[in-house]
Symmetry: C2
Subunit: 284 residues, 2 copies
């Protein structure tokens, strides 16, 4: 159920996004490339949480395309040599490797701009301003960019972070956009966002713990990017701080919490529960 | 009249912008640095065009802060080594020189995000969605980023551009945000934007021609950045294509057109006319 819904939503979000990118022309090729792969988990969270609140896919797809554009922009910039310096992403050369760094800067910039444009679409109606405002919080100085700045600062200082500090960093870097995605469905419906916030907060943290597990246990070919980088760099991760088994147990506990948070929705939220379990079973 | 209004509007826009930056904390220092200098011409165009349409400064200042944030973001990224590679901006070290390239990427990204947040402010009321939407066009794939991509492509190809091509490139790179700024006042008032579009289209082109004149005739200390770069790089500019005197005459003619476009407003638009004349008298 989850896998087929993930396929359907990621195809719908990508079609929407690529349609808007093509309509404009400039930089279309690298922008489509940058948004061409990926699991589409954030877009799925938008569309499935919307569906759960009675919002049709034709409305929520604009919001799913938005968050996939923001996510892709952050990856393109984060992969640059002056940031994480990654040559491979989703099994393919990163944008600055396939084109050049100037293209990577502009593609990321244009994808962020496009994300906000998508949120002005009429189908989103009264939720437009609330979603634009909350996206600026999730993506900006208090959210994603804050987490990235902490990450860069920690790497520069060469002082390993504590567990509390890593948890705070990841809540910004990865958690903020995941929360925004899951909350978006409730916002579109004008409903209470609290159950989705609780679900996504636990899910986001488990997601990052699992990324750290994959960095240790994963196979580069399956993961689609270099593995073992964090350990090689002596960087503190959930795995280095907790140990491999305890990190896995912590992720499993978080997924149990995430599923429990969906109890107000009963069985109708089973696809979101499956998604949560997938996060700690994935190999990429 | 123009100079005192420029001072007042640039101070108001900066105070609004810096207040929002500080409230959030992360990256506040480099973000304030990146938005600390500059003439504030775009913010002035917003607030003066708003004033002309009966919109109070307390409303338009949020829009002025927005466009100054977008302008600053574009400069921070444009100055990076992989783009224009400038060490000096407004007489001070560029962000990547004073901090590092990673900080420059994140500061630019966060300033773009903040710009859209400012446009969700309640004072902007019914104009919020139209202004957000038009800003995504002016700043994105069809506007500023399009112009920058053409600029990078021309530099990479080492084929000098024709006059038509440079005019098209600059209409995107510089013109789009200047037009958006001047139109914003009419949009805030729900009025016809055509006179402001005509004014700003001519003004924007004259502005860029004058930048090319300053690159040849200007003094680096006054201009606040390196001069002679374009000529050294063998890059086609309005001056290299038209000759210095013809370029000046073309800029003067454009300013006459810009002033004429304001005739529907009569004498009430004299401050905007003064601003237009300032564009081709400035030494930086």
């Amino acid at each position: 159920m989850f896998k087929s819904r993930l396929d359907a939503t990621s195809q719908a979000a990508r079609a929407c996004l690529h349609g808007e990118i093509s309509r404009k022309g400039a930089l279309a090729e690298p922008m489509k490339y940058a948004t061409g792969g990926g699991k589409g988990l954030r877009g799925f969270l938008v569309m499935e949480s919307a569906h759960l609140h009675g919002v049709p896919d034709g409305r929520s797809v604009w919001v799913a395309a938005t968050i996939e554009a923001v996510h892709a922009y952050s990856l393109v910039h984060d992969d640059m040599p002056c940031m994480d310096d990654d040559d491979l992403r989703r099994g393919l050369p990163t944008v600055h490797k396939k084109w050049d760094e100037a293209t990577a800067v502009l593609v990321g910039d244009a994808l962020q701009t496009l994300a906000f444009e998508l949120l002005t679409h009429g189908a989103i109606a009264d939720a437009r301003i609330p979603l634009i405002r909350s996206l600026t919080v999730a993506a900006g100085q208090l959210g994603m960019v804050h987490g990235q700045a902490l990450d860069i600062a920690a790497e520069t200082a060469k002082v390993p972070l504590t567990l509390d500090e890593i948890t705070h960093l990841q809540a910004g870097k990865t958690g903020a956009l995941i929360c925004w995605s899951a909350e978006a469905g409730a916002v579109l419906a004008g409903a209470d966002t609290q159950p989705m916030t609780d679900y996504a907060t636990a899910l986001g943290l488990a997601f990052q713990i699992w990324d750290d597990v994959l960095d240790v246990e994963g196979d580069a070919a399956a993961v689609g990017k270099a593995v073992g980088k964090d350990a090689d760099a002596g960087k503190a991760t959930f795995v280095s701080l907790l140990g491999l088994e305890a990190a896995k147990t912590r992720a499993e506990d978080l997924i149990t919490n995430a599923c429990d948070a969906l109890s107000p929705y009963g069985e109708r939220a089973d696809t979101l529960r499956e998604a949560a379990r997938f996060v700690i079973q994935r190999d990429r």
